[in-house]
């Protein structure tokens, strides 16, 4: 379950020795870019028993017309940005008396009564540290605050639109302290120097603030239902208090989308769904914040590779990178057992900071198209990959796929295979086809693009699921698609395009071969070394019927043969291409039958007719190939395995080179 995964991820962060400052950073919106302008105007009210003082602060500085918040100080102002609802009203629960002020609030600050009872009082009532305080006390604080603000109104008011933070530093609560020295402390967060007692300093107690933040979030969740003495869905044990996991703080489980709610539940009965206890909820909060930070959009170039139609070259070329709906990827590494939280936390922060990386880490860009690097985890963890599209800020998300239960060791092996394909096989394949291009080949760069280009966008998720779980995959579709594309390109005489398709075809076969070996899968496909051997035999003229038992082998040597013949034919006839002019008919699909009957069978006749000089290997091969065609026809492999035949035919045709050792003329290559 996704919610449980998030709790598992958050648990090590909650248990880690993270400082208060960092925790506040994780759980509040102090670093949220949306909130930066609030830090321009901080109205800090310093309240002691009888005395009070007004501070007007700006936490940050103006840089190139842009306000930059001072990150060394902002955690002392733990603000929470409301999601939805009318922000002018008191919203949700506040951990400590630190409130976001909108322009309308600020312009109202000279009206004591209105500001005290419409703005401050309702917020104080919803503040965790004042939850047990009686109304009369809160009214007093509200009025006193409003009075101070109205006295200094002229000092800060501006005609422009203003945003700000109202901060009530109240000595009577345990959330605040005043110390005679300025110090850096793990627990206490420095706010500013006191005005009532110069040289003394105001602090926020981080422990109290954090407790308040968690309480605030927990209370917020309570609004959609809570139960006492009920079983938590996460711990499966009876807990004092459980709340609904659906809430506005994380829009993946947003209550605005009513799908998971039965029409029979009331608005505050969401606990009939998933319910969580306070401890798990805290972990959940950390988990969601962590996921927010590691979520990355999949690059447009990869989306094009993943979701373009594969059986049509032109259609894929016409597709724009931008014509795909954005998809986001989230990698979740879930510990299976309660392990060493510190170590886990360290790894999580490594994912965020992208430091101390090594080649052995999981580069998810290669494996899943997600631009994140995950340090090495043992198999006591599971990797879950989540892909979604939609506008999360509106709580509108569509989960495209959740690939669960991936063993880190399997992912590592797959990564090794994909890397090898790109660094070794791709190099060899290009060399064989005499392509000097060193450009990156996007189709093989990552596992999703490899899979999608071979199987088609309709099967990208299901095949990824199979591959990550070491299940067998089949390659029939690869042959089908390659044949179709080769045919399309052959009709246009786009030989470079054909080479490109063949490079992908053989790269995928290399992947398939390694993958099959890895999972102990028996099926064997012909790779480059097989073709090299066959090509050598062809040049020597030492082919036997045994070498031509499969449709692929027969297709390949027919390709070699027709190309050799074609070279000679062109020499005799001028610029004509044999296959194009004699074998293929306008706009038609070339089939094994046409190659046999209109191509190979007529070679001998034309050779005699035109008196063509062909190397000695030609006739030896021709005889064997013609026999092999009869045998293949009897076995019906020409029709049943035509895709394999055609793909290898074009491979042979495009791979054929004159044999330098034997000289050009004899080989029919003048």
């Amino acid at each position: 379950m996704l919610a449980e995964d998030i709790v598992r991820i958050g648990r090590p962060i909650a248990k880690s020795n993270l400082s208060n400052e960092m925790r506040i950073r994780w759980l509040t919106d102090v670093d949220n870019d949306v909130c930066k302008n609030y830090f321009r105007n901080v109205f800090l009210l310093e309240l002691e028993e009888e005395n009070d003082a007004f501070h007007y602060l700006s936490i940050g500085e103006e840089k190139d017309k842009n306000f930059e918040v001072d990150r060394r100080r902002n955690t002392s102002f733990p603000i929470i940005y409301p999601n939805g609802g009318n922000p002018l009203n008191a919203q949700g629960i506040y951990p400590v008396p630190v409130y976001l002020m909108y322009d309308q609030h600020i312009k109202k600050m000279n009206n004591v009564e209105e500001f005290a009872f419409e703005v401050v009082f309702p917020r104080l009532k919803k503040t965790v540290i004042y939850l047990n305080a009686d109304d009369s006390r809160l009214e007093k604080i509200a009025k006193r605050s409003a009075q101070i603000l109205s006295q200094h109104y002229e000092q800060f008011i501006d005609k422009e639109k203003q945003l700000g933070i109202l901060y009530i530093w109240d000595k009577t609560t345990d959330a605040f302290q005043k110390l005679s020295e300025y110090k850096k402390d793990k627990r206490l967060l420095w706010i500013c120097e006191s005005k009532l007692h110069p040289k003394r300093h105001l602090y926020l107690d981080g422990d109290v603030a954090l407790k308040g933040i968690i309480e605030a979030k927990f209370s917020e969740a309570k609004e959609l239902g809570y139960k006492k003495d009920a079983v938590s869905t996460i711990t499966n044990q009876k807990e004092d208090e459980v709340v609904s996991i659906y809430n506005k703080s994380w829009l993946w489980l947003s209550p605005t989308w009513e799908m998971p709610r039965s029409i029979y539940w009331k608005k505050n009965e969401w606990t009939n769904g998933i319910k969580v206890d306070k401890k798990s909820y805290e972990s959940y909060l950390y988990g969601t914040q962590f996921l927010k930070q590691i979520t990355v959009p999949i690059s447009n170039a990869l989306l094009k590779e993943m979701f373009s139609p594969i059986a049509n070259v032109e259609a894929k070329r016409k597709m724009r990178n931008t014509s795909f709906e954005p998809i986001y990827g989230v990698p979740l590494v879930v510990p299976l057992i309660h392990g060493d939280s510190q170590q886990l936390y360290k790894k999580y922060s490594q994912i965020l900071k992208r430091e101390n990386l090594s080649n052995e880490d999981l580069h998810l860009e290669i494996l899943a198209g997600i631009n994140r690097i995950i340090p090495r985890f043992t198999d006591e963890h599971r990797l879950n990959l989540l892909y979604y599209s939609g506008d999360l800020s509106r709580g509108n998300m569509h989960i495209r796929m959740m690939l669960t239960d991936i063993l880190p060791s399997v992912a590592e092996k797959l990564q090794k295979i994909v890397r090898e394909v790109n660094s070794i096989d791709l190099f060899d394949i290009r060399k064989l086809f005499s392509i000097k291009n060193e450009q990156p080949f996007y189709r093989t760069k990552s596992l999703p693009s490899l899979i999608s280009n071979a199987f088609g966008p309709g099967y990208v998720w299901s095949v990824m699921q199979a591959v990550f779980h070491k299940q067998p995959i089949r390659i029939r579709r690869l042959y089908e698609a390659t044949t179709r594309k080769l045919n399309e390109l052959a009709n246009k005489e786009d030989y470079w395009g054909m080479l490109d398709e063949l490079v992908f075809h053989y790269s995928f076969l290399a992947f398939y071969q390694k993958y099959s070996k890895e999972i102990g899968f028996k099926e064997r496909v012909n790779t480059l070394s097989d073709w090299n051997r066959l090509m050598a035999k062809y040049h020597e003229g030492s082919l036997t019927l045994n070498d031509l038992q499969t449709s692929e082998q027969l297709g390949f040597v027919s390709g070699l043969l027709l190309k050799q013949f074609s070279n000679s034919y062109r020499f005799k006839t001028g610029n004509d291409d044999y296959v194009k002019h004699r074998v293929m008919k306008f706009g038609s699909k070339l089939t094994p039958d046409m190659i046999w009957k209109s191509g190979v069978l007529r070679c001998k006749e034309l050779k005699e007719q035109w008196d063509m000089p062909l190397a000695s290997n030609f006739e030896k091969n021709l005889g064997i190939i013609l026999l092999a065609f009869i045998e293949a026809n009897n076995k019906k492999i020409l029709s049943n395995e035509k895709d394999q035949f055609m793909t290898t035919f074009w491979s042979g045709y495009l791979l054929y080179k004159k044999d330098e050792k034997r000289g050009g003329i004899n080989n029919g290559n003048k």
Binding site: I263, Y264, P309, N312, P457, Y459, V463, A466, N640
Partner: protein, 319 residues
């Protein structure tokens, strides 16, 4: 008059289109099966849409007795805005003159006047909320053979907007459209009718007959380039007199010849109804075996479909 428990199987074909697109897959066909299987699927929602649209046109304004309104539909108000669920229900209540009753009991108003509420059920999420499970439930329809969808492109001659000034460049040409299609596919969809639930939703014998007719004629008349040319081919309805009996999985008792394996192994795909026949012998055998529990069997078949098995005694004239 009450209806019997029953089940049915409906076979339809589609040519040059995708009758039910997957919105998250660039409008390609829905693929529930893995790559080596290759079959595509249709959801019940797509078939119910055909039925509903047929009833809307065949029974305008709820029909003579104002019983056959359709609740689930796209309807716009005079300002051109789509009506929400509440307003749709209210507009039906208004047309049948039961606005007052609707305020306290929308459920009974919708049951009495909406065909789709009685047959397919309803989730009414406007206050006062209620839901009703429908007596008629369809399964997913899967193609009887592997299907390859093709990506095609075409051109539109009309530019998307006028050229305002003579010197303007661009928008002088139409655009290129792109789409997936399947050249041909044959789908089989199972369904059940539950008499006990029908009592609760007041689904009547007439509703059942209208449903069967709508399945056939609704499929026949709904065509669009995207959806393709649809054709109903075979509809089998089995009614039981034993309220607790059901043969079940009728779709497994019919088969296509040549079967899916043959297509898969040869790499070929059927391209028209002429290429295939439907074998119903196994189903007829089962029907014969359980004849004492069966009240009635009816089969509608399109003349162009080749059937293996003798269905003469069950054959019905087409609507």
């Amino acid at each position: 008059m009450g209806i019997n428990n029953g089940e049915f199987i409906f076979i339809k074909s589609v040519k040059d289109g995708i009758p039910n697109r997957d919105p998250l897959q660039d409008s390609d066909a829905r693929r529930l099966f893995p790559e080596e299987d290759g079959r595509i699927s249709l959801s019940d929602v797509s078939i119910k849409r055909d039925v509903r649209d047929y009833v809307i046109s065949a029974e305008p304004d709820g029909g003579n007795d104002k019983k056959n309104y359709i609740f689930v539909q796209e309807k716009v108000n005079e300002k051109g805005k789509l009506l929400g669920r509440g307003s749709l229900a209210e507009s039906i209540a208004k047309e049948v003159g039961k606005e007052k009753e609707a305020k306290t009991n929308m459920k009974s108003v919708l049951i009495d006047h909406c065909f789709d509420v009685r047959t397919f059920g309803i989730v009414y999420s406007v206050k006062p909320k209620f839901n009703l499970t429908g007596p008629v439930q369809f399964g997913w329809a899967h193609s009887l053979h592997p299907v390859d969808s093709q990506y095609i492109q075409g051109t539109v001659v009309m530019p998307s907007s006028d050229i305002k000034n003579d010197g303007d460049e661009g928008k002088t040409q139409g655009t290129i459209w792109t789409s997936y299609i399947v050249p041909f596919a044959l789908f089989a969809m199972p369904g059940v009718i539950n008499a006990k639930i029908a009592e609760q939703t007041k689904m009547s014998k007439e509703d059942q007959e209208l449903l069967l007719k709508a399945l056939w004629q609704g499929t026949q008349h709904r065509q669009a380039r995207g959806r393709g040319q649809q054709q109903p081919l075979l509809l089998v309805h089995v009614e039981y007199n034993d309220p607790y009996f059901r043969i079940g999985y009728l779709e497994d008792l019919i088969s296509m010849n040549p079967g899916e394996e043959v297509w898969r192994n040869s790499g070929k795909r059927p391209s028209s109804i002429k290429d295939v026949s439907i074998n119903v012998e196994a189903m007829l055998e089962k029907i014969n075996m359980y004849k004492d529990k069966i009240a009635n069997v009816r089969i509608w078949v399109h003349p162009s479909l080749k059937i293996e098995g003798n269905i003469d005694q069950y054959k019905q004239p087409l609507w």
